[in-house]
Amino acid sequence: MMPGTRYPPMVIWAARDIQRHCGRSMLLFACLASLVFLTAMALLFSQALDATWERLMDQAPDLVVRRIDGGGWAPLPVDVAMACAKKIPGVIDPTPRLWGVVPGPEGPVTVVASIAVVPESMLKGIPPPSAGQAVVGQGVARALSGGRLSLGSNHSVTVSVIHTFPADTGLATHDLVWMTPDDARPLLGLVPGQASDLAVHLFRREEERAIQADLAAAFPWPVRITDRSTSALNHHTRAVRSGGIAVVAGIPALLALLLIITGTVVDNTARQAYWGLLKSMGWTTADMVRLQVSRAMIVGIPAVVLGLASAYAAVFYPPAAGITAFWVTGGQHLPALTLVSSGAAMVMIEIAAMVGLPFLAAVFLTTLRAADGSPWTLLQADPWN
């Protein structure tokens, strides 16, 4: 094939037109790429946060049953609670949990103790803590001095840290102190035979709401039941809301800037004579729109791709990801995020709609305004007269 024949002539001519007005095209490219970068970064961040939450929340128990009394939360007798929960059809695998929040050296930490034995396949080299020992998350490990950790205020417990949870488990273990039940109980104010609460899994997750009333009635004391889907909904709502707020806060101003720049680039009165000349040679207004849209695409597609790729790097690649997290969360440390392909596709669709459509409309409207005249009138705007 002869070189050049693989592209439609209109597209080649659009590229030639870009060459003729290189500075303006570069300005448009920069403006569009930065607009896409800012929009996509906020959207990708919220999408990734949402995907991460969803993935992790999928592992959470369907229901958590806590005993309440006049003073607030009360310890749960394990045997009674297990027996009551097992009576309800659809409940599988009720598990008492020993956990609580206690003051650590640099703020609160989450103390957990596993009553059951953690399977070897999970541990992957992490030694389970013995009495007086603890395994801690990355966030807690940073505050350690001399490998010992003092927790609690009234009933202080000091344990030696024998291991740190790997960084790739940070989404679950960042603030964790894992110790034996015997070490944990004094800290949490529990006696043997008591648990903090009861985690319940269901045979059918869809029954999450329906089963709550039966479950609550089965216990001999008042209980408060929280469900997984409410937490998941809260997380999801926060993620998309914060993404939406970021978009709403920054985008209109940038969009206005884009429209102005597009208008300046496309609608140049000095080009009116050019449009008139083209019309006198048989170009139609639709041809000119096609030319300008091709031109906008040649500049716009690489700009959009560059903006998206930069946003992707800014969200997922350290150290850029750290800067992004610092910027968008106001200094919170965020562990590595994950993304699902459907989430990425949704971000692409949203970017196309929020940036691509107004950009194309601006190109179209300004071209139409400039070229929609009689060819003779347009020709008169020219220096050759």
Binding site: P9, K279, S280, W283, T284, W384
Partner: protein, 235 residues
């Protein structure tokens, strides 16, 4: 009047918009047939309305009254979305040439070809042919603003002819040419006409008046077009 052949003016009137009704019109009751396969010369003094007539024939201006028919179709009545693409059949040489100075010679010739449904290679072939005819082959890559006046005019004519138009409207096509090149341009226009095109030349160049390739001569004066056939043997 035969409306099916070539370009036909029927009762053509033109008055600039915004002018008073009592001022004389630019063109009044113009009746003319520019037949297929002929070369017609419209002469007249400067400001007599030759360029306006050319622009009316090309559909760039709209007649105040009357019609322009092309191949049996009232093109001057057509709405713009039909008249604009119809202009692909028209090759027009502007008096002011209207070349794009920062484009090369070859690229200026590319302009009328772009919206046509032909391949890139075919476009390049047509441009090459036209450059050879205009004697500009060596200057294909030269920016237009480096050409001499005569070369620029030959380029404007080449641009009008490059897409093999049905109707060629040339306004003062020999203004910047020496005798040799003027004769060559006339011969080129005659060749186009012999291939079946309608060629209308608007000029007050005395060299054209004596050129024997002209089939019909018209004279425009006081907004009225008068004329007669010269070469009866024309097809």
């Amino acid at each position: 009047m035969e409306l099916n052949a070539g370009l036909v003016c029927r009762g053509l009137n033109f008055r600039w918009p915004g002018k008073n009704a009592d001022e004389p019109p630019v063109l009044e009751a113009v009746e003319a047939v520019f037949a297929q396969g002929t070369v017609s010369l419209v002469t007249g003094n400067t400001g007599s309305g030759k360029s306006t007539l050319m622009h009316l024939l090309a559909g760039l201006l709209h007649p105040t009254a009357g019609e322009v028919w092309a191949d049996g179709q009232p093109v001057s009545r057509w709405p713009s979305r039909h008249r604009d693409p119809w202009r692909r059949q028209v090759g027009i040489v502007f008096q002011h040439l209207a070349l794009i100075p920062d484009l090369t010679v070859g690229e200026n010739l590319l302009l009328p070809m772009i919206p046509r449904p032909i391949t890139w290679s075919r476009m390049q072939e047509e441009i090459r042919r036209q450059l050879e005819d205009a004697g500009l082959s060596a200057l294909a890559d030269a920016p237009t603003n480096t050409l001499s006046g005569g070369q620029r005019q030959r380029l404007a004519i080449a641009r009008a002819l490059v897409a093999r138009p049905r109707f060629v409207l040339a306004d003062e096509p020999t203004a910047f040419q020496d005798d040799h090149h003027a004769a060559r341009i006339c011969a080129q226009l005659c060749d186009i006409a012999r291939e079946g095109a309608v060629v209308v030349i608007g000029s007050h160049d005395p060299r054209l008046r004596s050129f024997d390739g002209i089939d019909r001569r018209f004279h425009l004066a006081s907004a009225t077009l008068t004329g007669a056939a010269v070469n009866q043997g024309a097809p």
